[in-house]
């Protein structure tokens, strides 16, 4: 298959998820689907195979293809490039550019900077963990929210601060969390995933 054809096939696959698709909790990169992205992955590997130092470009293209780097994709890359899995995993975790797990539609950033912390950010974080059913770095089962902690958002006057997507929520109380999340999802549901 020519490079142009590969590109075209890939373009076809990169359409945004249909509404509701992400909501099923079966993110497109779960890796168990019988799709032909694996065929494309094999072509990517074959293209780079003989160039030394090709691991990073291959991981990068694979992430564009799958949205993240799940285990079976990394194993396939290791096998294809003749590298130990440990090395592939090492590189995939070293660079923050790569993501092992599917990212949700929106990122929830909880500020854990000093000002927010003393004004109760930890309790907000706990409430978010509980409400989303995930730990820091995890994505809620409905595929909507990925929870992240940040050091300081620079909005100390509004502490404690939670940021969802581009929206800042000020002086958040733990009991507000369920409502904030529900409102956000309702008002932004027509948005297309950022990545």
């Amino acid at each position: 298959m020519s490079a142009a054809q590969t590109k075209e096939r890939r373009a076809r696959l990169e359409v945004a998820p249909k509404p509701g698709e992400a909501g099923k909790g079966t993110c497109k990169c779960q890796g168990k689907l019988a799709d032909d992205r694996y065929g494309i992955l094999d072509e990517i590997i074959a293209k780079h195979k003989d160039t030394p130092g090709s691991l990073i470009p291959v991981l990068h293209e694979a992430q564009q293809l799958f949205g993240c780097l799940p285990e079976d994709v990394q194993s396939r890359i290791a096998k294809g490039l003749g590298l130990p899995e440990s090395e592939v995993y090492g590189v995939a975790t070293f660079y923050s550019l790569f993501s092992l797990r599917p990212k949700g539609k929106w990122t929830v950033n909880v500020c854990l900077g000093t000002a927010c912390y003393v004004r109760g950010a930890a309790a907000c974080l706990e409430a978010l963990k509980k409400e989303l059913g995930v730990d820091i770095g995890g994505t809620s089962r409905d595929g909507l929210f990925t929870l992240q902690a940040v050091r300081c958002l620079g909005a100390c006057a509004l502490a404690p601060v939670v940021m969802i997507g581009e929206t800042v929520f000020a002086r958040v109380k733990p009991e507000d969390i369920p409502r904030i999340l529900a409102d956000y999802a309702a008002t932004h549901s027509s948005e297309v995933a950022a990545s």
């Binding site: 285990e71 590298l83 130990p84 899995e85 440990s86 995993y89 090492g90 975790t93 070293f94 092992l100």
Partner: protein, 618 residues
């Protein structure tokens, strides 16, 4: 004062990690002169400052460097001052140069080393009292040696769960000092590639892919990582307390077998110089620990030779699948099942000596001793961690119950002996119990790389030459061509007019290289011996830990010396083995022998897909 070069030895240094050197490559390296702490020292070009300093009697401290692993250069404990260098270079990765002026013990050097170790300690759990390595830990030794008395730093490190999923090993990532030894061993020496560095900064860790447990990874349980880890971050799964419980249980008949390599190394744990075989003391210690019968895995080794020798001659005669490859080493068997499944048909169907012993103990011996197999608690002491995995494989239960109940490492037995208050060094010599404690020198040398091959050749050459067996000295005894520590050795021998090509590989990286050559049609053999650990069982993952670069050679020498002392040195001259055939098994390769002493293999992918099918059907 001048430190001249000793005679250069043929490449035996971290040989296992290296590909086989083509003959003739050992061109003499150029000699350079440098000054270390005021003395003129000669060194070969390509050597490191550390090598030269240590030879000159300057024991520069190290942490990540280990002779069996090679240079890593990650910890910076070994820094020295070199005139003209901008900062303090790490001596373990700095090559010598002519005219170099090195100082190994200046205030700046001491301060730098101390800071490095203090930073390591700051992120290390203060669990020493409960740690398996307490008292024999390289980090403790360094702290001691550098005189660290205060904790100036405090460092955060992300907590990671202890992993006890493997039947052989336990990892405690919180104790890891990120030296990289295990990563290098697992990837380069063993070519398995399970362990690697992941993440960075305070999240840095050593882990299998996706932080899986070792049991879910492609780990073959060789334990080489556990053997080189300087701290308590990787160890065998300890089971010796279970053995103590069994001994204390009056309803159980507790039987123990000891592998050959154990006697060549366990003395080190009791201050006996490396390279001393302590066979007699070991037998006494086991009796004193309260085992009901003390047997020798060397009996199982002799039995293996009878069966495997038979298998080899059969395969050559009937043009069966060749080369025949030995299957004594469970780490190697697992490696073959995982990475080279196309060679499974080449593996000898013989069980390993441990498992042959296990099967014979719970059948033949049970009958002879009049004890029901269910009442026998069968313990093995092995130089190996993969033996724990092997004993737990589902197919090894010839008597209907698990053949070997617990497989201990050499290190665990040493702990058990110490806990019982027995000083091995002071014990009188004792004997193993008949009938399964009787063995020959052929069984002894199983513990060194090339030993299984040599033991097989002693027997096979005699059968092939149709010499009357039984008469000592009827056939050739010593096969120097298969001895030594090079990672891969090969030879062509004449067996009764038939030309036989053989190869010996130790260390899985070397095994992989050898198999690849066979795959590519670049080499062909009749018989191949493969051991998972570089140097063979003497350097097994369950052996006492050592930073002595000569350790494998010393332990192997102890076994070869023991072999020379033995009255019988060929497996078929083992009278107890002969009786076993007369009374119970019939002939080598008989139907009974097949049922008890042989086994089958399955590629890891086959097992996985079979499990998948079962799951889907459910």
């Amino acid at each position: 004062m001048n430190v001249a070069l000793p005679q250069r030895k043929p490449e035996t240094q971290p040989a296992p990690a290296r590909p086989v050197a083509p003959p003739g490559e050992a061109a003499p390296a150029k000699v350079v002169r440098l000054t270390i702490d005021g003395r003129t020292v000669e060194a070969h070009e390509g050597e490191t400052v550390l090598d030269a300093a240590r030879r000159a009697g300057r024991d520069v401290p190290t942490l990540c460097y280990h002779p069996a692993v090679g240079r890593i250069g990650s910890c910076r404990v070994c820094v020295v001052e070199i005139e003209g260098a901008r900062n303090l270079p790490a001596s373990c990765v700095t090559p010598v140069a002519d005219g170099m002026v090195v100082r190994t013990n200046t205030p700046a050097v001491r301060e730098a080393r101390r800071t490095v170790v203090e930073l390591l300690l700051a992120a290390h759990p203060h669990d020493c009292l409960k740690c398996e390595r307490n008292g024999r830990c390289e980090l403790q030794d360094l702290a001691m040696r550098l005189g660290i008395r205060t904790a100036r730093f405090h460092r955060e490190k992300e907590h990671r769960e202890r992993d006890a999923s493997s039947p052989a090993l336990v990892r405690e990532p919180d104790k890891c000092v990120l030296c990289g030894r295990c990563v290098k061993v697992c990837n380069e020496v063993q070519a398995v590639g399970v362990l690697g560095f992941a993440y960075r900064g305070t999240r840095s860790c050593v882990t299998p892919m996706f932080e899986h447990g070792l049991a879910e990874s492609k780990c073959v349980s060789c334990g080489q990582c556990a053997k080189v880890c300087p701290v308590g971050a990787i160890s065998e799964k300890e089971e010796w307390e279970r053995v103590l419980d069994a001994i204390a249980d009056p309803d159980l008949h507790v039987v123990v077998q000891v592998a050959p390599a154990v006697r060549a190394a366990i003395g080190e744990e009791f201050g006996i110089p490396a390279g001393t075989a302590v066979t007699g003391k070991l037998a006494t210690a086991l009796h004193r620990l309260g085992f009901d019968a003390v047997f020798d895995t060397q009996f199982g080794a002799d039995l293996t030779i009878m069966e495997e020798g038979h298998e080899l001659l059969e395969r050559i005669k009937s043009r069966g699948k060749l080369p025949l490859i030995t299957s004594c080493s469970p780490g190697w068997v697992r490696f073959c099942e995982t990475f080279f499944p196309d060679f499974l048909g080449n593996l000898s169907s013989c069980k390993s000596p441990q498992q042959m012993m296990g099967a014979v103990i719970k059948t033949y011996y049970a009958k002879k001793a009049g004890v029901a197999p269910e009442r026998i608690f069968s313990v093995s002491v092995m130089p190996c961690t993969a033996k724990k995995y092997e004993a737990a494989r589902p197919e090894v239960n010839a008597s209907g119950v698990r053949d070997v109940d617990v497989a201990l490492t050499t290190r665990e037995l040493a702990r058990m002996i110490k806990a019982a208050g027995i000083d091995l060094a002071g014990l009188p010599d004792g004997e193993f119990d008949p009938p399964l404690g009787i063995s020959t020198g052929a069984g002894t040398i199983f513990g060194a790389t090339g030993g299984v091959m040599e033991a097989a050749l002693r027997t096979v050459s005699e059968i092939a030459a149709k010499k009357p067996s039984g008469k000592a000295g009827a056939g050739k005894l010593e096969f120097a061509e298969v001895r030594g520590l090079e990672g891969i050795r090969e030879a062509t021998l004449d067996l009764g007019g038939q030309e036989v090509r053989i190869a010996v590989a130790s260390g899985l990286g070397n095994a992989a290289r050898l198999l690849q050559r066979i795959r590519d049609g670049k080499a062909s053999y009749h018989f191949v011996e493969i051991m998972a650990c570089p140097g063979g069982c003497v350097e097994g993952g369950g052996q006492p830990r050592s930073c002595d670069p000569e350790i494998a050679a010393k332990r192997a020498a102890a076994l070869y010396a023991e072999d020379r002392r033995m009255k019988a040195r060929k497996s078929h001259e083992n009278l107890a083995v002969r009786r076993l055939y007369e009374e119970f098994l019939g002939k080598p390769g008989s139907e009974v022998a097949h049922r008890l002493l042989h086994t089958t293999y399955q590629s890891v992918e086959e097992v996985a897909s079979a499990a998948g099918v079962r799951k889907e059907a459910m």
